[in-house]
């Protein structure tokens, strides 16, 4: 780890201001991605602005048919939340299966989506549920939020404050875990909301995305009968020692089918 300045702030406004003043600042939430990256000397921010003390960023509530989760809410808190379990049980289960207990007790929703690891779980849910990401500047629809590998629509001084998930009629997440890291080799979140079925896919490609071809095959129904026939663009799939592009494309379909079945 290189030297850096540590800044503790107690409001979103103060965090933004600290960022604007910093030479090359970074926000830190749970630190579960940020700190390992710094320890490996792959990141060397001049300032680390800790969102841990910003009370307005935590909390879970249901308002106007939306589940609203504060950006600093930990995975463990989402998993254990009665509101989440009631409103979107698939989301609680997803959170409860991220990493290990230490990671879940520190890692946050805001950190996960701001980081946009192509193998992270939350992005699939955010996309499939048609969520809206609320930031210190604006509201960003899920589909515009994730722009590329480790890239999002966020500006440098923009903070995710909360995510609001419209309540679905049915939803399920199926994750095919990397045997080593236990991140998603492929994760598919299927949600039926307001009569529409959406599929959010993570892990498979550089960027979490909507599975439009899969959605077309489902045709708004929770019936996986047409999934096998879907042709996915293998050349766009990630490929590594754990899973080739071809295998990932196959897994996307298997996970989709299983998620659809789990929705029923």
């Amino acid at each position: 780890m290189y030297e850096f300045n540590y800044r503790k702030v107690d409001s979103v406004a103060a965090a933004v201001e600290a960022m604007q003043q910093a030479e090359d600042g970074k926000f830190v939430a749970g630190g579960q991605t940020m700190l390992p990256t710094m320890k490996h000397r792959l990141a060397s921010p001049s300032d680390l602005i800790d969102l841990g003390g910003v009370a307005e960023l935590t909390g879970i509530s249901v308002e106007n048919e939306n589940l609203i989760v504060g950006a600093m809410t930990t995975h463990a808190a989402v998993a254990a939340s009665a509101e989440v379990q009631q409103a979107i049980p698939a989301l609680a289960r997803l959170a409860g299966n991220i990493g290990d207990p230490a990671v879940r007790n520190r890692g946050t929703l805001g950190g996960s989506i701001a980081n946009h690891d192509p193998a992270a779980d939350y992005p699939a849910a955010v996309i499939a549920l048609g969520a809206t990401v609320q930031t210190s500047k604006r509201a960003i629809p899920a589909e515009e939020f994730f722009t590329g590998m480790f890239e999002t629509a966020l500006k440098d001084d923009e903070i995710v404050t909360s995510v609001s998930f419209p309540l679905p009629e049915a939803a399920a997440y199926m994750k095919f875990e990397n045997p080593a890291s236990r991140y998603a080799i492929v994760g598919v979140f299927v949600a039926k909301t307001g009569g529409e079925v959406r599929v959010g896919v993570t892990g498979a490609t550089a960027c979490a995305h909507r599975g439009f071809r899969l959605e077309a095959a489902l045709g708004g129904e929770l019936d996986a009968g047409g999934i096998d026939a879907v042709e996915l663009p293998v050349e766009q799939m990630n490929s590594d020692i754990h899973a080739s592009a071809e295998y990932r494309a196959h897994l996307v379909k298997v996970m989709t089918k299983r998620a659809v079945e789990a929705c029923q």
């Binding site: 000397r41 095919f176 990397n178 045997p179 080593a180 020692i241 754990h242 899973a243 897994l251 298997v254």
Partner: protein, 787 residues
């Protein structure tokens, strides 16, 4: 029975300190004036060093010294050695390239040691290490085991044309050929034994202190064998004479073989602390462990078996190319040779065996012993081949094994490959394992699984291994530079408690308990009055350390022998005190008594008398403190049958181990609970190799699996609850009747798992690690073939 003696599952004495966080590992030890070292490592797999500019690093805050290979050479330190000679087919010793502890002009793998940077803090040393400017001329790298010796490959070492370390043919080639020519059937299999990173939980570390007053270096190391370290560092690396070098292996967090060897960091830290006259600490991080701990396995083989019409094995032929990495680690040469080819008989009476091993250099980390060392490779090959034979002959895998087992009445059994097996009852272990696994109920379970869309498979592995390493004369003949006896000292203090000094080293095996039980059983001393001491060359007599499941089978016997001597001496002292003839004194349960009377004396009282010899037998020395050295006459040969049952999800290729049964012959069990723990860990290790662990370099020699993000270790949820039982026999060559249990699981499990997967998929073979994608592809292919 003594309630804490042999056969009792006594809770581990050492766990108190581990469970309350009072273990004392090398990194826990801090000394006044200590500096911190970081190694500059090669980022390239193969490169010439055109120059090293240390000026930036030397000017960095807190830096005390930056030392390179030139400094090391100027002081005449090193190079590192390989302690076992293997004679190549040209009659010459194996090719041994120079192995400098800090690179001299060339680096040969990613992680190779280039310089040591020493600073006041670890962070300063890391910062400064980045400022060491090394000018590399990158060369093509040789990575792949199978093609390393192909013509046209870049030659890594001048002394090793074609990158060959040795070609080692072994056995009756002509006899084997004749048997193959006349065989009813020949079964053949190509297979890979995947490379593993050994992964002890505690990364390696070293702390060196130099005392100018005594001219003595003290090195705290993560070592499995402190005296071996001291011997090699003194006699071969010129660090300091043995009497001026103290090596301490304090608590060590696992070794699995990787901490046997003398590493560059250890020698360099020892040398540097004297050079800068300040203590130097190096604490390796996990990345360094991946890059620069010795790795294990990495064989590419072809195996063939010739059979008669009844499936009786007539002859076996094996060709193996073994990767030794960039340099020869301390015992590397013996692993794919003596520890491998000598085990190729397995549990079978195959009369003729011929093997050819070609050991090659590559631009990868050195490869050496890893839990089982050679024996897992042999067992995997034999037990996979036997399943292929069964398939080719249309026999049940259990049946073909049974037909070829060495018969019970043939022990001691001389194999055609040097080893003479001590004792065994292979059918008994197979029967028991089949019962435990409900082998006959398998087809019903497979049917039921099918109804859930799962493919269920069952696989057997009947392994044998050689432990209790080893008879000194035997290993000497083979070219080892050391003898492999073990030592013990059993010392009574005047107040009757006992200190047991062993030359072995416990780094997770529970010796402090098991050895205390031996003494408790033999001398009748309460177990809480016995302390086992190991791991410090300043405290214990010379010993050979712990590896090859030798500690109990060799070191335990040395302890028992020392106890014998105490009993003999005690009889003299008791006879005098009890006014009886020495021949009338009997010893049992801690009491010396006069036969046929109620006159008796406790061993603690005898010890006291020996230290306060006011009234004492003539000609007997005072003191109650005996030592013994034990050199075994043979290896010990644990064996058993493991049965694995898996369910494969054909849609994803995910393999679930649903049932695992193991029946082992470890001879007599001293602490069944500890043995069970060793079996569990071993099986986990073996399942890890079969399903998860694959060390992988890219074509440029970058280690892709350099962290747990990519290197998959087995975890609890990868494993079922194991069903474990024993089918012990009594090894006549071992005075304690024990065989060794630390490696069995890692040896037995891989073929059991792969046999089960092959069975589930109905395929001939699948290479390890059987990752979901590999299994999925095999399932697809099998489905396409049967369609």
């Amino acid at each position: 029975m003594n309630e804490n003696g042999i056969g009792a599952s006594v809770r581990r004495k050492e766990d108190q300190r581990f469970l309350i966080g009072k273990g004392n590992y090398t990194d826990d030890i801090n000394v006044a004036g200590q500096t911190h070292a970081v190694f500059v490592r090669s980022p390239h797999a193969h490169a010439e060093i055109k120059g090293i500019d240390c000026s930036g690093a030397l000017a960095a805050p807190g830096v005390v010294a930056v030392l390179t290979g030139d400094d090391l050479a100027a002081d005449g330190i090193g190079p590192l050695i390989c302690g076992v000679t293997v004679t190549s087919d040209d009659g010459e010793p194996h090719r041994a390239p120079a192995h400098p502890a800090l690179a001299q002009g060339k680096v040969n793998y990613v992680g190779d040691h280039v310089a040591i940077v020493i600073a006041e803090t670890r962070a300063q040393a890391r910062d400064a290490a980045e400022l060491v400017d090394v000018d590399y001329n990158v060369l093509p790298a040789v990575i792949d085991t199978g093609s390393a010796a192909d013509s046209g490959q870049q030659q890594i070492h001048e002394v090793a044309p074609d990158n060959v370390c040795y070609n080692w043919p072994f056995g009756d080639k002509d006899g084997v050929e004749a048997a193959f020519a006349g065989a009813h059937k020949v079964s053949k299999l190509d297979l890979v034994n995947n490379r593993m990173v050994t992964n002890p939980m505690e990364p390696r570390a070293a702390l060196g202190e130099y005392n100018p007053g005594t001219d003595e270096i003290t090195l705290h190391l993560t070592t499995q064998n402190p005296h071996v370290h001291r011997l090699v560092l003194s006699a071969f690396n010129q660090l300091a004479p043995e009497h001026k070098l103290r090596v301490v292996g304090p608590d060590v967090g696992g070794g699995f073989g990787a901490k046997i060897f003398v590493y560059a960091e250890e020698l360099v830290v020892g040398w540097a602390c004297r050079k800068i006259k300040r203590p130097v600490k190096w604490n390796g991080d996990r990345t360094e462990a991946f890059l620069a701990d010795a790795h294990g396995r990495d064989h590419v083989s072809t195996a063939e078996m010739a059979m008669d019409e009844n499936g009786k094995f007539l002859a076996m032929r094996v060709q193996t190319q073994a990767n030794l990495g960039a340099y020869l680690s301390t015992f590397s040469t013996m692993v794919p040779s003596y520890l491998y080819a000598f085990l190729l008989a397995g549990q079978y009476s195959t009369p003729l065996i011929y093997s050819e091993v070609k050991a090659v250099f590559t631009n990868t980390a050195p490869v050496d012993a890893c839990r089982g060392a050679g024996r897992p490779e042999a067992t995997y090959l034999v037990e996979r081949l036997v399943d292929i034979c069964a398939a080719d002959m249309g026999l049940d895998p259990a049946e073909i094994r049974r037909r070829n087992f060495i018969p019970v009445d043939a022990f001691p059994y001389q194999t055609p490959v040097v080893q003479c097996y001590d004792s065994g009852d292979y059918p008994a272990a197979l029967d028991k394992a089949m019962e435990l696994a409900d082998y006959s109920g398998f087809s019903a379970r497979a049917e039921e699984a099918k109804s859930r869309g799962k493919l269920r498979g069952i696989g057997l592995s009947s392994y044998v291994e050689a432990c209790g390493i080893a008879p000194s004369a035997a290993v000497g003949q083979l070219g080892a530079g050391v003898g492999l006896w073990e030592s013990a000292q059993v010392r009574f203090n005047p107040t009757g408690n006992v200190q047991v000094f062993t030359g072995t080293h416990s780094h997770g095996q529970g010796h402090e308990t098991t050895f205390a039980q031996l003494v408790c059983d033999q001398l009748g001393v309460p177990i809480e009055n016995i302390e086992v001491i190991h791991g410090d060359t300043a405290k214990t007599q010379f010993g050979m350390g712990t590896y090859g499941s030798r500690s109990l089978a060799v070191g335990g016997v040395a302890i028992a022998r020392a106890c014998d001597k105490l009993i003999a001496k005690g009889k003299k002292i008791a006879a005098h005190a009890l006014e009886a003839a020495e021949g009338d004194i009997e010893f049992a349960d801690g009491n010396f008594s006069v036969a046929g009377t109620d006159k008796a004396m406790n061993i603690a009282e005898v010890a006291f008398t020996a230290y306060v010899p006011h009234s004492y037998p003539e000609g007997v020395e005072p003191g109650f403190d005996e030592n013994a050295f034990f050199d075994p006459t043979n290896f010990s040969f644990p064996a058993g049958t493991h049965i694995c049952e898996v369910e494969v999800d054909p849609d994803t290729g995910v393999v679930e181990v649903v049932k695992y049964s193991a029946v082992d012959d470890f001879g007599r069990l001293i602490n069944p609970m500890i043995v069970e723990g060793q079996v569990h860990g071993g099986i986990a290790h073996g399942v890890g190799q079969a399903l998860l662990e694959g060390c992988s370099y890219d074509s440029e020699g970058q280690l892709i699996t350099a962290s747990y993000m990519d290197y998959a270790m087995p975890r609890a949820d990868n494993l079922p609850s194991f069903d474990i039982d024993y089918a012990p026999t009594n090894p006549p060559d071992n005075p304690l009747g024990v065989k060794g249990c630390g490696e069995a699981g890692a040896i037995g499990a891989p073929p059991a798992v792969i046999n089960a997967i092959s069975n589930a998929l109905g395929v001939r073979h699948i290479d390890m690690p059987a990752t979901p994608e590999t299994v999925w592809r095999a399932a697809q292919q099998a489905a396409a073939v049967s369609a």
